[in-house]
């Protein structure tokens, strides 16, 4: 009798239909323009993925707000990065043995050309004829043509004229290499030479 009642109930109002292809339960009154919905639970791996990302977030924010971890603060991260650099052997370690002189070996000249093409050619043109910056091929020099003078210029720049300081970009040796290359340009004939600037000077090399 009881069994019969149950059956009757099921026939009148089935809670679920079954999707024949997957053998899963379809929700009874869920039908929209022919689209039905299955009553599947959330995939467990999906649930766990969600939980883990939430736990990650909680830990992340606790580290920021409660423990105030240094790696959560970008300014402190920067200080740490710079402190690490400071503890490395000094950039100027070889300063004692460093001497400002013209380098003549092929390796230095070819390295100098490489540096020149990447950094100097922009203003002085690839053949040294000058554009925004002065001509390197003629006998006229604005700030002197001794190696010491030129080393100072490439190191500290000439701000009022727009010459960039290269002390942060080129190591002392690299500066010597590029200057040594520039010296080789003297007397060559560039395609579009810039008019002479500065004073005529003797060529000391």
């Amino acid at each position: 009798m009881e069994n019969n009642e149950n059956n009757k109930h099921k026939i009148q109002k089935p809670e679920y239909e079954i999707d024949t292809l997957t053998n899963e339960r379809l929700l009874a009154d869920h039908e929209y323009d022919g689209i039905q919905e299955l009553d599947n639970d959330l995939p467990p791996w999906w649930k766990w993925l969600f939980y883990i990302t939430i736990v990650f977030g909680v830990i992340y924010l606790i580290r920021l707000w409660v423990f105030k971890s240094d790696d959560m603060n970008q300014n402190k991260e920067y200080e740490m990065e710079m402190a690490k650099i400071a503890s490395l052997p000094s950039q100027q370690a070889d300063a004692a043995s460093f001497e400002i002189k013209v380098l003549t070996d092929d390796a230095s000249i070819s390295s100098g050309k490489d540096i020149y093409d990447k950094n100097c050619a922009v203003c002085h043109t690839p053949d040294g004829g000058g554009l925004v910056g002065p001509n390197f091929t003629d006998d006229y020099w604005i700030h002197g043509n001794s190696m010491d003078d030129m080393y100072k210029i490439v190191t500290n720049g000439v701000l009022e004229k727009g010459m960039t300081p290269f002390k942060d970009q080129l190591s002392p040796t690299k500066r010597l290499e590029v200057l040594s290359y520039i010296i080789t340009m003297h007397g060559t004939t560039p395609a579009n030479p810039k008019a002479p600037e500065g004073e005529q000077m003797d060529w000391p090399y």
């Binding site: 009154d29 689209i35 039905q36 599947n40 920021l64 970008q74 710079m82 690839p126 925004v132």
Partner: protein
């Protein structure tokens, strides 16, 4: 209850479908042109209207709002009546929606190349168009809500939930991010300044992705995937959970676009955390899409519609995993400002958006015209071209992004930057950009094949405008089935549903913004504000910088990394940007950062003469440079009639120009211009005081210069 008879009107669907095809191809062509401009700067033909800086916003707006926008309206206007068993509520609003939207797109294609832009990404259109967008969007929303009220079904289906979330959120985002004070009909200044503006912009920018490129597409997926596969949705429970968590979490994620930038640490952290938590809700959509195809995989092998859907949904899964990974600080430190981001968004647009929309069109056209698809093999060809195009687009760019970031960061053993010349890092990735252009070409070719196929399908049949349907009016019947979590109840109350969705999406934005607005600098000081407002000439120069879209390739934001400080100078501080309406931090460094371009003795300082020569012909100074020549700046006169109005607008925004400064601004402007031009003339450059280039040089030389900088760490 008796069955009622009614008809669906396919007219508006057809209009939107045609528009999405037309604008899709347009967006691809503009994008491809921009890609070639990055390879050959002469592609703009020397025209100021076609430079990369002006085409980029045209491409992004066309792809997002014209192609995907019309695509989602196609889906909404087709599926909503059928899911609610009633025609759309108002034909008039539908027409306003359609023609208004097309008008906006046409205005965008005119104004963006002309240089009328707010410079805020994906929100570049100027204020009159912003107002038009708001009105058309409301017309769409009212029509959607009206249709829900008039519905016959008792409950609203998950696709409709996503449409609701789209409507309310885009309305909120668009209106708030577009707060701007007009200077003239074609020019306005953002109401927000500097870091605030950046926050609001990326809250908008990120959620334009979320609520324009994602939620409506999920709605589309929930209707067209089960229809095309003729299979039930995998899990109703998953729909509920992933819908609410997705819309709640997404809105918080904006700050992940600003990691390591001049923004409070806590906002960035919240952005990261919420982005990571988004993986599962996003994948919920992917699972419900892909697992709905269980039992139909044999059809997937055959049917180009399902193939496009499967690859599109997979692309969604990939990019929604990648996005959270890019939100991790350590990954972002590498990926940001590189091509990695561009690869990431194109997996989303070419894959997820493009393939779903084309899949929908292949399914819909035969229904609209009562015939079979003209050619299944052409559709298959399109599918392969689109898939290969996407891969050829993205994979080289991943490589390029990674390569360039590593080159930016590389130091020599002596402690110098290994690649101090920025251009070197660009030349290295140029071949990757060539491959990207190939990928774009493949994708465009595929879409042209699709256009042909769809036109031939339409020609073979006859447009079926009206479709008869019948249904029982279930609304008003009692809701005896409570369902899981009682969610069934609210599915029967669309207005309440809309209000709840609105509340849920407002939370994240409010929590992140309020601290930024009460005492603007309480939470992120770092620099005492001791900055002069821009001089009138610098302000005009800044507006030229905005007009030319310089921000599309040059950032103004130095992150606190040794490699960036070494390359560009002291890292950026929040307070420096306090008079910047709008902010110009940028998102991609195709060229070097310019935040400290004008600092004398700084890392990048160049004399006025260099700036002049470089702007007029960059290749003269760097043969490998891909910056287009801006020679028109040297021949066009600066419009100084606008100066007083610009100063007054800035005063209204709180920039402390003295009282009455607008009246003397042009005298100051002319005096400063004369000094700069005179200096150039002395150096042998033939230029007049009143040329635009003088103002731009003044602005560039101002960048990074703060009056008596007093950096104080809190």
């Amino acid at each position: 209850m008796a069955l009622e008879k009614f008809t669906y009107d396919n007219k508006i669907t057809k209009c939107f479908a045609n528009a999405t095809i037309l604008w899709g191809v347009t967006a691809f062509i503009v994008g491809l042109t921009a890609a070639f401009e990055l390879l050959y700067p002469s592609v703009n033909l020397g025209l100021q209207y076609l430079t990369f800086g002006r085409l980029r916003p045209l491409h992004t707006n066309a792809a997002i709002f014209a192609f995907v926008g019309n695509g989602i309206f196609t889906a909404v206007y087709y599926s909503t009546p059928r899911l609610l068993k009633t025609p759309m509520w108002s034909q008039a609003l539908g027409k306003i929606n359609f023609w208004g939207w097309q008008l906006i797109i046409v205005l965008a294609t005119i104004t963006l190349p002309l240089g009328f832009t707010t410079s805020k990404e994906y929100a570049e259109l100027e204020w009159p168009i912003d107002i038009l967008i708001a009105l058309v969007w409301v017309a769409f929303g009212v029509n959607l809500i009206g249709t829900m009220i008039k519905r016959r079904t008792k409950h609203i289906y998950v696709a409709i939930w996503f449409y609701i979330a789209t409507f309310v959120t885009i309305a909120v985002l668009h209106i708030f991010n577009s707060f701007e004070l007009p200077v003239s009909l074609t020019k306005s200044y953002s109401f927000f300044h500097g870091a605030q503006d950046a926050m609001v912009q990326w809250w908008y920018g990120h959620n334009a992705v979320a609520f324009f490129l994602t939620t409506p597409m999920l709605g589309l997926m929930y209707y067209f995937v089960p229809k095309a596969a003729n299979r039930p949705i995998y899990s109703y429970k998953l729909s509920i959970i992933h819908f609410w968590t997705l819309i709640f979490l997404y809105i918080w994620a904006g700050p992940h676009h600003l990691l390591y930038q001049a923004l409070p640490n806590w906002v960035q952290a919240v952005g990261t955390v919420m982005s990571i938590a988004l993986i599962a809700p996003s994948w919920g959509g992917m699972i419900n899409g892909l697992l709905t195809l269980r039992g139909a995989w044999d059809k997937v092998r055959e049917d180009p519609v399902l193939k496009l859907f499967v690859v599109g949904i997979t692309a969604y899964g990939m990019s929604t995993f990648e996005g959270p990974m890019l939100s991790l600080k350590t990954v972002n430190a590498i990926s940001h400002f590189t091509d990695w981001t561009i690869a990431h968004v194109h997996i989303g647009t070419l894959g997820w958006n493009g393939m779903l929309i084309f899949g929908m069109l292949y399914w819909m056209f035969p229904k609209l015209y009562g015939v079979k698809l003209y050619s299944r093999s052409l559709a298959n060809t399109h599918f392969w071209l689109a898939t290969l195009g996407m891969l050829f687009f993205a994979i080289p760019l991943y490589f390029a992004g990674f390569t360039q970031a590593l080159m930016w960061k590389q130091f020599t053993v002596e402690g110098y930057l290994k690649y101090p010349n920025f251009l070197e890092t660009y030349v290295q990735i140029r071949p990757m950009h060539a491959l990207r252009a190939l990928g774009g070409t493949l994708y465009l070719t595929g879409s042209l094949i699709a256009v042909y196929n769809l036109i031939m399908t339409a020609k073979a049949g006859k447009f079926i405008r009206f479709q008869d349907a019948e249904g029982e009016r279930e609304v008003g019947k009692s809701d005896d089935h409570k369902g899981w979590l009682n969610h069934r109840k609210i599915e029967g109350k669309p207005i309440a549903f809309t209000v709840w969705a609105l509340i849920v999406i407002l939370i994240g934005g409010l929590v992140e913004f309020i601290p930024m607005f009460i005492g603007p600098f309480n939470n992120h000081p770092e620099v005492t504000i001791n900055i002069d407002p821009y001089t009138p000439l610098e302000l005009q120069g800044r507006d030229i910088y905005i007009r030319e879209g310089c921000v599309g390739c040059h950032s103004q934001q130095i992150r606190p990394f040794r490699s960036e400080v070494e390359r560009y100078g002291e890292y950026s501080k929040t307070g420096e940007f306090v008079y910047n309406h709008p902010f110009l931090w940028g998102s991609r460094r195709t060229g070097p950062d310019l935040a400290r371009e004008g600092v004398k003795g700084g890392k990048l300082y160049k004399p006025d003469s260099w700036q002049y020569e470089h702007l007029v012909n960059p290749q003269n100074l760097n043969p490998q440079s891909i910056m287009p020549p801006y020679h028109w700046l040297a021949t066009q006169d600066l419009d100084i009639n606008s100066t007083p109005a610009k100063i007054r607008t800035m005063q209204r925004l709180g920039v402390p120009y003295p009282e009455g400064f607008d009246q003397i601004a042009n005298d100051k402007l002319k005096a400063q211009a004369h000094i700069i031009a005179d200096g150039l003339r002395k150096g042998g450059i033939d230029v007049e005081d009143q040329k635009e280039i003088i103002a731009l040089i003044a602005y560039l030389q101002r960048l990074g210069n703060i009056k008596e900088p007093e950096f104080t760490v809190n």
